[in-house]
């Protein structure tokens, strides 16, 4: 059995770690609340945009002309993956779940004979892609806890430019997918994969059925609107990932904290036993000594 002093030192160190994880838990809890607020704040803009787009695509479908971002490419051989991960670790299984989902996606696409390029947002995802040697087309790291929209635009631009045909009709991506951490609730965050481009035209569910007049024209409005719609979708996904990151970290730290407490309890018990044993030994030694002297 370890000496009483060693155990005491151990208890102290576990208690200190517990204090750190407790502090991190509290910090993550408040950051998570803020991140959730930020996600909610984008809703009015995104919802209005969605409604207007539903209205427009419904009309333009009748006209027959389709915007390139709504139009699927005839054959799919090159896909892009926008991978949104945290910059930092210590958030439970979130990062490994995300990278595992990314790896599965890449293998899956490759087995269908498609090549995959990655647009990485977040350091962990970027490092993973570099480690496995996958093609990395663009990266954004160091976004922080509440990034402004401007900071995420480059990734959206890369995706849009890669998907839309250039002047000579060439393009880099046939489909673009988005993988991010879906915020289900405080306890559950899971990787969510969805198709990002071509844009899924919203059905008439969102349409307001108002007979607008358009300036300059329906096509022009749609032209301007689609990129905004894509940008705000990416922005929402990033904000949601940030909320997921903080809530995953909060849970991880709460578990660490509980474990630290349990460890301290066990160690204290062992310490008391060791102390008791030492005293017992000491008493019996004295008693034995005294008996020896009396004889």
């Amino acid at each position: 059995m370890a000496s009483a002093r060693e155990i005491r030192r151990r208890i102290k160190s576990v208690k200190n770690t517990g204090k750190i994880t407790k502090a991190m838990e509290l910090v993550s809890a408040s950051k998570m609340r803020r991140a959730q607020r930020n996600v909610l704040a984008t809703r009015p803009y995104a919802d209005r945009l969605y409604d207007v787009m539903g209205e427009l695509t419904l009309r333009s479908m009748g006209g027959g002309t389709k915007h390139p971002l709504l139009q699927p490419h005839p054959t799919v051989t090159r896909v892009a993956l926008i991978l949104i991960t945290p910059d930092r670790g210590l958030c439970g299984a979130l990062n490994s779940n995300l990278t595992r989902a990314a790896a599965r996606f890449i293998t899956d696409q490759k087995s269908q004979g498609r090549s995959v390029s990655v647009i990485a947002i977040g350091k962990k995802g970027r490092d993973f892609i570099l480690r496995v040697g996958q093609k990395l087309d663009s990266e954004i790291i160091g976004l922080g806890d509440a990034p402004p929209l401007v900071d995420v635009l480059p990734a959206a631009t890369t995706a849009i430019n890669g998907y839309s045909p250039d002047a000579s009709g060439n393009y880099d991506y046939d489909e673009v997918y988005l993988l991010c951490a879906e915020f289900v609730n405080t306890l559950v965050q899971r990787p969510k994969l969805r198709r990002f481009l071509p844009v899924e035209a919203p059905g008439n569910a969102g349409a307001t059925k108002v007979d607008y007049s358009y300036e300059p024209s329906q096509e022009d409005v749609l032209d301007q609107l689609l990129p905004r719609f894509i940008e705000v979708q990416l922005y929402q996904a990033i904000l949601e990932s940030i909320a997921s990151e903080h809530s995953a970290r909060m849970m991880a730290m709460r578990n660490a904290n509980d474990n630290a407490k349990e460890l301290v309890r066990d160690l204290t018990l062992t310490y008391n036993k060791a102390r008791q044993a030492a005293i017992t030994t000491e008493i019996s030694e004295i008693a034995a000594g005294a008996t020896a002297l009396n004889q």
């Binding site: 631009t157 358009y214 922005y235």
Partner: protein, 136 residues
């Protein structure tokens, strides 16, 4: 009958208020909206948007977006929106110079995109600030 005016950006709701008149910089020219306007969807260009409430005009600097007009509601989906009297002209000028510098030093298409956006925003701020100064 007042108009319910909402200015929203991707980041937040900037303004939600009942107003008497809205004037916005559409790509086709400036449009004024009074109550019971016909439904309209228009693309906005960077410039000054203002609304009138109880005879007082309040200016906002916006850098492009959309305007949706319904008979008693106007929604501005702006790329960025700021109250014009909160603009600091010297800071906007600095931001413009920085953005121009960044466009020259760009390393990648992303840098270019970022710089373009910054430049656009700074330019609008400056324009609106100048407009206001000239009027005063």
């Amino acid at each position: 009958m007042p108009i319910q005016l909402e200015i929203v950006t991707a980041e937040r709701v900037v303004l939600s208020e009942e107003v008497d008149m809205v004037s916005a910089p559409s790509v086709e020219g400036r449009v004024g909206i009074l109550p019971r306007h016909e439904p309209l969807l228009t693309v906005l260009q960077p410039g000054e948007l203002h609304y009138v409430k109880n005879g007082v005009s309040m200016p906002y600097a916006i850098s492009g977006g959309f305007m949706e007009v319904l008979p008693n509601r106007v929604t501005i989906l702006a790329d960025t929106a700021e109250r014009a009297d909160e603009i600091d002209e010297t800071r906007a000028e600095q931001a413009r110079l920085q953005a121009e510098q960044a466009m020259r030093d760009r390393q990648s298409t992303e840098d270019l995109a970022r710089a373009e956006i910054a430049l656009r925003r700074a330019t609008v701020r400056l324009q609106v600030a100048k407009l206001r100064r000239n009027r005063q």
